[in-house]
Every structure is written in structure tokens, then in C-alpha cells.
């Protein structure tokens, strides 16, 4: 067993308020010393510019998918990740970011110029509607205990 191998993780955000990202940065308060030794932050825009976007053990994906472009990016993340975890309500159930899916026709008409100008998808999707999801961490923001449980599970699995 190679004890020095770090878990290669990515943290990605799509359409959402990024509350789970904030919870993640708050979890660093208690875990940064341990995670520095155990985790390789390969792609994590909130804390670094470097983007080593390949061979990821686990990708944590926050937010819902609002455009074709986002859908393609998510598929790329899936293709370089052994495991993919949907994080927070928007990723897991598509809401509240997908609230426009339930707008009535008159409101859709009102927002349509924006939808057209920036190539929004007709419907906002949860992550599992686009790619295979291995685990989910529900909550708005994400459930901290569940996050730690899943992270620790993968730390053991990929050791």
C-alpha cells in the first residue's frame, strides 16, 4: 500500500449560489492540516489557478446545468473522473437554480431575450440528468457530515 498517494480531487461549480463551496472552505478551518497531506487539489478554482484537469479520483460537482456548454463541460469532468459526486440541492435535485423550469409562459416570454442571447438550455437539469453520479450530498447548503463521510470513504477506497 502506497501511504503517500494523495486522493486527486476536483471541485466544480455550475449554476448555483456556491453555498457548498463556502461550506467546503469552512471545513478547511478544522481539516486543512489533514487535507494538505491527503488531498491533491487538482482542479479547484475557488482556491487556486492551477488546473490539472486529468486522472481525477473524485470530482465534487455543485450546481445545476443551465446550458449546452455547461453540459459538455460536465461530460468532460465525468470522462476524467473515476467517481463523481453531486453536491448540494441544485446539483442533486436541480433546485432552486432550475426554478425557471416551472415559470408560466408569460414569464418565460419575459426572460426569453436573455435565454436566447446567452444560449441557455430550454430546461435546467440536475447533474444525474446529464452524467452518471456515484454519490450525492444533499442539502442547501450541503450536509457537512455527509460530505466528510463520502470523502473519508474515498480516501480509504483509493488508498
Amino acid at each position: 500500500m502506497n501511504m503517500s498517494k494523495k486522493l486527486r480531487i476536483g471541485w466544480f461549480s455550475f449554476s448555483c449560489c456556491e453555498d457548498s463551496t463556502i461550506i467546503f472552505t469552512e471545513l478547511l478551518n478544522d481539516h486543512y492540516q489533514e487535507w494538505r497531506k491527503k488531498l491533491a487539489f487538482c482542479s479547484c478554482g475557488i482556491i487556486q489557478k492551477r488546473n490539472d484537469f486529468k486522472d481525477l479520483d473524485v470530482s465534487f460537482v455543485e450546481g445545476a446545468i443551465a446550458s449546452k456548454e455547461q453540459e459538455e463541460k460536465l461530460k468532460k469532468i465525468r470522462s476524467v473522473s473515476k467517481k463523481l459526486v453531486a453536491v448540494g440541492a441544485c446539483a442533486v435535485v436541480g433546485l432552486p437554480s432550475g426554478q425557471r423550469n416551472n415559470f408560466e409562459a408569460k414569464t418565460i416570454e419575459e426572460i426569453n431575450p436573455i435565454l436566447m442571447r446567452f444560449n441557455y438550455s430550454d430546461k435546467v437539469k440536475k447533474i444525474s440528468e446529464v452524467v452518471k453520479v456515484d454519490d450525492v450530498i444533499p442539502g442547501c447548503p450541503m450536509d457537512e457530515k455527509k460530505f466528510l463521510e463520502i470523502l473519508n470513504k474515498y480516501l480509504i477506497e483509493f488508498q
Binding site: C16, I22, I23, E26, N29, C44, I47, Q48, F103
Partner: protein, 427 residues
């Protein structure tokens, strides 16, 4: 003469998604576009028909970073429309909740986003634990963030989308016994914050801009009350804000930009300190007399120093409130739903946040206007980048990119907030 295109895709170490396009031809900046790339989530439409009690928790989801600021501002607008007067205890608890946010949010920005630029690393976690100074910075970063987080948790039930603050009060009142521990933790991090102030005091970054400064100011630098002040010459009642803010559609950006009385303005910690440094907590002022002489300042990099100073002010003010507050059980102020228009204005960590709500007699939202800080700073950010590139076209590409990123981070933009809605015709 220099000609080049500069495209920065997803900017890192900021909240949300933004990008930048610059075109220089024969030494002249032909195009400079700072684009907010977050897809809109249409909260302005989604709030229509929502009950006034449900609204604050919904709009809190506009932004995970400053969710509690949205919560407090939405509550303030609803209470204004419904003529509800919160109790002094509720007001004190709201101040504490917001101070917790200021401490946590400014510390996140300064340590996680900005500090790597100062120390020549990409990620703060790369700092060397065997180097005493770097080790100290790491420990300070997470201790300060944790203290702000804990203050928000004790008062609001959670640091993000706090569940206890409600229209008319708090659904759960914090236990006064927990205050002793909070005071101890806040006292313990004061020395760390003084070290943080020193770091930004010694940072020599300069970009001076002739811009207006706007903030909500009151006598105690509470972030939650007062009048809107522009420079030293204009004072505006919160209710009238709409007459002074001009919406500017930027066709390439997902977010709307704003000017104030037709001019580019800057909001946030630098604006607040420029306009109200004498209203800081007394203990804070005594501790950092010399540093405060640097304000007012036109150097936008001093927004970082101003944030560090505001952390100390939030700590000292919180200690004062926690030491004096005698908690009693209080029920929520009862609501008799009525028709009306309500305005809420507060200072969120990144600047002035405005809510205007039209409510029908059943207590449902008919329409709403929400103006967030980053929307207001967006044009100023773009202009600052333009001015910097114009004066430095001969610099190497990497240096230009690094400096531009530092300028953007100095404004501490929040893209999730900025792209929450679509401009609508008001009523």
C-alpha cells in the same frame, strides 16, 4: 507599437465565474470587457407570488457567500412594507449575525483569494509549515474564519443560509451561556487580525482611481442602518435609492451594471472607510490610529486593507454587544399582512445591497428589485483594468495577467450575486 489580444477564461480565486477580453492595437486599448459569466437564475421572477415569510430564505439562495446579508436585507424590506418594528434584542442579534459574516467573508477573501498573490504561491495551502511566518499565516487564516463562522452559527443557527432570523425576530434565541466562549474566541483572534492589517499595510500595490464612493452610513458603523452617502456631498434616504442608481445593460455580460448619479462609483470596505472611519468602534480606532491616517484613499488596493480593518471593527463591536446583551425569551412580532412597498438597504461585505418589494394585501410579493454590490462595481472594475492596461501596454503578458487578476480580486467581486436576475420594469 504593441498590439495583442488578451483573453482570460475562468478567473480563479473569486466567487463565481467571470472572464476578460482585451484588445490592444498599436499601443491603444481598443476593447476591455469584464464579463460576468454566471447563468442567471431569475430570482426577480421567482419571488413573485411568494409569501413574505418565505421570501428571505429564498433570496438568501441568491448567494452562498453573503447569504446572511440577503437574508437580513430581505427581512428589512418586508418589515418596512409591513410596518414592523423589531425589538432592540432582535436588532442586536442581527448586528452580531452580520458581524460574523463580515469576519468570515473578509477573511475568506483576504487569506484564500488575495494572500497567495502577496506570497507568490498559487494556493494558500502551499505555504510552508516549517517557515514560522508562513505557518503563522496559515494558522491565523483558519482561526479568524472559524471565529466568524462560529459567531454566525451561535446567533443564526448556521453560517450559510442561517435558519433562525425571521421577519419580526428570531425563531430561536441563542443561549447567553455561549457568549462567554464567543467573547474568548474573538479576543483570541485580535492579535491575528492585527498581523493581517500589518500585512496589507505593508503591501505596496497601488492603483489610484478618481471615482465616487458610496455607502450606507450610521453613527456606529453597523452595516445595517443609516443613510446612503456619496463622497461628502450627497446624503440620500434609503427609500429614494432608485432615483440615483442608473442601470446599464452590458450586452456581453450576464449581469447588469450600475452607475450612481450618472458616474462610476465604488462600494465596499474602501468606500465605507473613506466615508466613515471616525465611526469605527472606539477600541479599533485606538489600536490602529496610524493605519487609519491612510484613509480616505483613492488606491483601490486599499479595499483589502479596509477589509482587514473592518474585521477588527466587527470583532470589537461584537465583543461589546455580547458583553452587554442580556438575553430574554421573545416571540416574533406578530404580522398583520397588508399591502405596501418596502425598501431594505444594508452594507453587505462587498458593498451596498438594495431590496425593494411590492407586496399585496395577502402578503404575497407582486414584484421586486434587488441591486447587489458586484453589479454596482462591475463598470468600475472594467474601467480600472482599462486604465491599468492603457498605462502598461509594454509589460509582459504574464505580468499583465497577474496584475489584472490582482485588480479584480481587490474589488472582491461576487458573480453569483450579480447574475441572479433580469431587469424588469418596476410596477
Amino acid at each position: 507599437m504593441h498590439s495583442f489580444d488578451l483573453n482570460i477564461g475562468e478567473l480563479s480565486k473569486i466567487e463565481g465565474k467571470a472572464s476578460l477580453t482585451i484588445k490592444v492595437e498599436n499601443g491603444e486599448v481598443k476593447e476591455c470587457r469584464f464579463k460576468i459569466d454566471e447563468f442567471k437564475r431569475f430570482y426577480t421572477q421567482a419571488i413573485r407570488g411568494k409569501d413574505i415569510l418565505a421570501l428571505p430564505q429564498l433570496t438568501s439562495r441568491i448567494c452562498g457567500t453573503c447569504s446572511n446579508a440577503h437574508l437580513l436585507c430581505a427581512i428589512k424590506a418586508v418589515e418596512d412594507a409591513q410596518k414592523i418594528q423589531p425589538t432592540p434584542q432582535t436588532e442586536a442579534l442581527r448586528k452580531l449575525l452580520n458581524f460574523g459574516l463580515i469576519i468570515r467573508d473578509h477573511a475568506l477573501h483576504l487569506y484564500i483569494f488575495v494572500m497567495p498573490d502577496l506570497l507568490g504561491v498559487d494556493n494558500i495551502l502551499e505555504l510552508d509549515e516549517n517557515d514560522p511566518r508562513e505557518h503563522q499565516i496559515l494558522d491565523d487564516a483558519f482561526a479568524i474564519k472559524a471565529a466568524g463562522n462560529n459567531l454566525s452559527k451561535v446567533i443564526g443557527g448556521r453560517s450559510v443560509h442561517a435558519p433562525f432570523p425571521m421577519v419580526g425576530g428570531f425563531s430561536k434565541i441563542p443561549d447567553e451561556k455561549s457568549f462567554t466562549e464567543l467573547i474568548k474566541e474573538l479576543e483570541n483572534i485580535r492579535s491575528a487580525v492585527l498581523r493581517l492589517i500589518k500585512i496589507f499595510q505593508d503591501d505596496g500595490s497601488i492603483l489610484e482611481r478618481n471615482t465616487d464612493f458610496v455607502a450606507l452610513i450610521d453613527e456606529e458603523y453597523s452595516f445595517l442602518k443609516g443613510c446612503i452617502i456619496k463622497n461628502d456631498d450627497v446624503t440620500i434616504a434609503c427609500q429614494n435609492y432608485g432615483a440615483y442608481l442608473d442601470k446599464i445593460v452590458l450586452p456581453y455580460s450576464h449581469a447588469i451594471g450600475y452607475k450612481f448619479m450618472g458616474r462610476i462609483h465604488m462600494i465596499g470596505a474602501l468606500a465605507r472607510l473613506n466615508l466613515a472611519k471616525e465611526k469605527l468602534n472606539r477600541r479599533t480606532k485606538e489600536e490602529i490610529k496610524e493605519v487609519l491616517k491612510r484613509f480616505p484613499s483613492k488606491n483601490i488596493f486599499y479595499n483589502n486593507l479596509a477589509q482587514a480593518i473592518e474585521i477588527l471593527h466587527a470583532i470589537d463591536s461584537s465583543i461589546e454587544i455580547l458583553s452587554q446583551l442580556s438575553i430574554k425569551e421573545e416571540k416574533l412580532v406578530p404580522i398583520v399582512r397588508k399591502e405596501g412597498i418596502g425598501v431594505g438597504v444594508i452594507e453587505a461585505p462587498r458593498g451596498t445591497l438594495y431590496y425593494k418589494l411590492a407586496i399585496n394585501k395577502e402578503g404575497k410579493v407582486i414584484n421586486g428589485d434587488i441591486v447587489v454590490p458586484t453589479g454596482q462595481n462591475q463598470i468600475g472594475i472594467e474601467r480600472s483594468i482599462y486604465e491599468y492596461v492603457k498605462a502598461n501596454v509594454d509589460k509582459k503578458r504574464e505580468e499583465l495577467i497577474n496584475e489584472i487578476e490582482k485588480i479584480i480580486r481587490a474589488y472582491d467581486p461576487c458573480m453569483s450575486c450579480a447574475s441572479h436576475f433580469l431587469r424588469v420594469k418596476w410596477l
